[in-house]
Amino acid sequence: MAIRRGRGVAAINYPTGMNLGGDPTQALVHSTPTGNFMVTLSSVDLGQGMKQIMAQICAETIGVPTDRVVVDTADTDTGPHCMGTFASRGTHRAGNAVIQAAKEARQVMLEVAAEELEVNASDLETDGQGNIQVKGAPQKSISIFDVALSAHFKRGRSISGRGMFLIPRSYPEKETGAMKPSTCYAHACTVAEVEVDDETGEVTVLTVKNVFEIGRALNPKMVEQQLVGGSWMGISHALYETTEPYYPNRDHGGTDFNQYLMPGLGDLAETETIVLERPSADGPFGAKGPGEMCANPQIPAVANAVFDAVGVRIDTLPITPERILRALKAQAAG
């Protein structure tokens, strides 16, 4: 009986969004009378930071500071339609819709500014600080605050835009079954090192080294936050989490979240996370969906590391001490 060490590697491709009947998200953007911009969505921020990302995307497209944008994701009854926040689709689908809506709103904003400045709208640019100016002649400028006041109270214009992003439904070809069920793949690779006690079946994860290719990181700190937490959740999927440990038998399942095991503070592995940015062709500013995929590669990497350590293949999750011991027993029995 001994503590045995093993190392496992796994690589994954992970799609952004889904395609069961078309995958649409819509967005509306409008300015308030004081030149702040409102993004209306039905997409929900689950804590992953969607409101911040949508504010950045809208601000970048219109040409205003991010703090001039308010994102409202309040109500799926009254907001523009969204399929939902899942399948890592939020940034990609909603972001593309927000870009389209913000472009239309920006065009109206420039048209109103052009009337005020008595120039051609195509000669105008934003300075990113809340002003619109003539290209090459920045002394001729007007604040977006004044443009919005003019639109509302003088010109009778609505500085607003509509955005729609749709991945159409893909039907399989009759002869081959070939189809395009998903788009915009993110990629990841994990190397995990474990120790397995072949007397108790207990697994200790020593190190987890991850590389994630996620398109463009629109907010690098938030991406890092997502990936660090996700890597921990991947270890949790591999070794801890289940509602029904003896599925389909319901016995011994946790009765609440207190009994739903996940690694605690004392169970953390030394974790390294590297981000590769290869901007996607169809993502907003090159983004892909880093959400769910970041918790995937750790699972096969740990399973492979357990195999490397003690020579048994555990193909049911989570990889519990009991499953390892049963497999070792079967292996010994030949």
């Binding site: 804590g47 660090v228 921990w232």
Partner: protein
């Protein structure tokens, strides 16, 4: 049910309430007094989200009866900032992105405060031990550990 009077100090100000006997401190703080910084996660003493400081000790407000707190000095996360300036722990949690959904954060900060009050320069192992009664389901804990260590360094630099 008969109501009982209880008086205590909350974040430096005197509070006096009539509460129903058996009310937890968590419910008294949130529903009677209006301090919603302690969160009700499990209501059975497992998750740590309701942690508050009572007379210098870290306590679970969901397992503490309000009527036992007469004369106590109670501190919650809502009372940490002074004059609009965030406490070093709050600053460090923000800067380190140590929150996502944020539900565990007040309990984490209370547990960390008790640690730093007693051990101004803790080791990583001491931080892990001090926070081990608090559950987080978003961050993977590492950013939280780093935030507490950063806050400890910031506080000791200010004191020096």
């Amino acid at each position: 049910m008969a109501k009982v009077p209880v008086q205590f100090t909350l974040n430096g100000s005197e509070k006096a309430e009539f509460i129903e006997s058996g009310t937890t401190l968590l419910n008294a703080l949130r529903d009677k007094i209006g301090d919603t910084s302690p969160k009700g996660g499990c209501h059975q003493g497992t998750c740590g989200a309701c942690s508050v400081i009572i007379d210098g000790e870290l306590k679970l407000s969901c397992l503490t009866l309000a009527e036992t707190c007469g004369g106590a000095d109670i501190k919650t996360t809502a009372g940490l900032a002074e004059g609009g300036v965030l406490h070093p722990l709050q600053r460090a949690f923000l800067d380190a992105f140590a929150t996502q959904c944020g539900f565990c954060t007040p309990g984490m900060i209370m547990a960390a405060k008790v640690l730093l009050d007693r051990t101004p320069n803790p080791s990583r192992e001491e931080v892990v031990e001090a926070l081990s009664g608090n559950i987080c389901r978003c961050t993977g804990y590492e950013p939280i550990i780093q935030a507490v260590l950063t806050a400890a360094r910031a506080s000791s630099q200010n004191a020096a």
